[in-house]
Symmetry: C2
């Protein structure tokens, strides 16, 4: 298994000013590299305490790249529905060069109605926009004199600069919140996959992975488990009971932010987002105790977390795990302690 850090900001101005958030996030990035973590990841979201501090993950990751030399940088994810492919391909290629080839690009369809509304993009166009955005970026990265006649964009012939550092292009991963078809398409295309354990039953995730692996194999790819990413809220303390008492706060805070962000699903329906209205209900009905029972949070003593990860490995394979150690407005010192305990006790077990 590989382990990295997902810097998913679930804070608002009233909790932590943005300048402090970013200084802490950059310090945790440097710490992650020193401690031997595999990657640092961040999201694209807007307007609310659920990720709103990160409307452009590339901006943060460029700063992270400049502070580090080994750790990989992962967009988790960029949303092609909201950025023209020329701009998106260009800035990701800049980041790939600035980082000397440490970029993995996760693309997401986006799933929050308020974000689509803000950009004036119909959710009913979500999948074709997503597919076109990824395909256009790939072509811009790999070909010269590109002519693009898509449904949403037309351009060319033109040659994008800079060319990516990694040839033919950075590794592509695709986020699927709850939709099996996205997993199937990712498998057929040979992309990696990012799943969200917090909002899916374990059996559902296993079905999504089975489908992904089957479609990939049929298309002639051999997907490695490492290309499957999942993020977990993480809180460690030497004493498991202490960890659960303190970790509960940040996990519950994260959940409150998620509930507020998906609120608009109670009155939104889209053919391309079937079943999303259930996310609201699922998130509202979940609590920290159930998350512990269902193994959806990595909270406890180092030994307990090793056991949780062994269970996760049994369910999903030797996947890549992203630890959410700042999420829920965790105080900086506790993020540091969690990462240090993880690096001292948990990383060696899996290396």
């Amino acid at each position: 298994m590989k382990f990295g850090i997902n810097l998913f900001p679930t804070v608002g101005e009233d909790e932590k000013p943005a300048d402090r958030y970013f200084q802490e996030a950059l310090e945790l990035t440097e710490l992650a590299e020193r401690l031997g973590f595999h990657h640092v990841k961040t999201v694209e979201h807007y307007f609310t305490g659920y990720g709103g501090y990160s409307p452009d993950p590339v901006t943060f990751l460029a700063a992270a790249a400049a502070r580090t030399s080994k750790i990989r940088l992962v967009t988790g994810a960029v949303l092609p529905a909201f950025t023209h492919p020329i701009k998106l391909a260009g800035k990701l290629a800049m980041l790939d060069n600035i980082s000397l080839g440490r970029l993995d690009v996760g693309f997401g369809r986006a799933f929050l109605p308020d974000e689509f509304a803000a950009y004036g993009v119909s959710m009913d166009e979500s999948r074709p926009r997503f597919d076109e955005g990824i395909a256009a970026c790939r072509l811009l990265w790999t070909e010269k004199d590109v002519i693009w006649n898509g449904t949403f964009h037309r351009f060319g012939p033109l040659t994008m600069l800079p060319r990516p550092y990694q040839r033919p292009h950075p590794r592509i991963l695709v986020t699927s919140a709850v939709t099996p078809e996205t997993c199937a398409a990712a498998g057929r295309a040979g992309y990696g996959l990012m799943l969200v354990p917090a909002i899916n039953k374990r059996e559902k995730l296993q079905d999504m992975l089975t489908l992904y692996r089957k479609e990939a194999a049929e298309a002639g790819y051999e997907p490695v488990d490492e290309d499957i990413h999942m993020s977990y809220n993480c809180y460690l303390a030497p004493d498991g009971e202490v960890a659960r008492t303190l970790g509960r706060t940040y996990s519950e805070n994260t959940n409150r932010k998620l509930v507020a962000a998906v609120e608009s699903w109670t009155h939104t329906r889209s053919d391309q987002y079937q079943g999303y209205e259930k996310i609201v209900e699922n998130v509202r009905n979940s609590d920290f105790t159930k998350h512990l029972t269902d193994n959806k949070v990595l909270v406890g003593s180092p030994d307990e977390v090793i056991q949780r990860l062994e269970t996760i490995r049994g369910w999903f394979g030797d996947i890549t795990i992203s630890l959410q150690v700042i999420t829920g407005n965790m105080p900086f010192a506790e993020s540091v302690r969690t990462m240090e305990l993880f690096a001292d006790h948990v990383l060696p077990h899996f290396s």
Copy 2:
């Protein structure tokens, strides 16, 4: 006068790989801070050796911010015609927070027909798109529950995150290539101004500045000279004759890239870009000797460059100068030498 560095990449893949360009640009950024320069600046351009390595200046400046702590970061410029204001306001606010308030935002209308064609944006909408883009960013930075009903964008009510570090918002500057009306509008709005001496006669620039200052004063602003930015190709050597022999190469290389980039103006006309077809002719007819005579390049010994800057100060006032020390594919060691000579001999004269 204030002096900074304009990292305007006029190189292609055949001259310098992008990864090397960015490593050098970041090292020069750190050097600029150590040597006491005021700012580092970069452009937004696409597809060609004329700035094409920098399709997203915010990505580079975020990396620059992470490597520095005092130097100011200037977009020179971002192009609102090509980025949704929610994305643009958001990532600039991220950069302002990451840099702890060191951002000045230059906005440009864009002027290369091939860039407009690539984005599918009509040049005839250039000015209203520009005006709307800046106004929307300002509102998103300063107000909550923003409702925007513009010609090109409609959204809201929504509150942008993160809020800028600088309140009410980062300093705004406006680029004018050759259009007096842009200078007048910048003055009326209380914005700073970026002019391009390489493609304008000295008297034309003085007229543009007179208009800018007059309109600003009538609108109740007192523009300071420091808020007027101009960029100059710069090459220093202890011996002036040596500097001219070597500096000629990089200046001519820059000019060749500009000629290629504006080539499409020979068959493009737009009401909103009157007289732009003359840029091609002007650039083709200019040469290094004429640039020296007209004081459009800062090339020579330190003492000679001091004299050139005194002349420029006499023409335009105590403005902010951005030195193009990487432009024209100058070798890294010569960029460093130019900056060091400038810092040792020229900066003290003007401080």
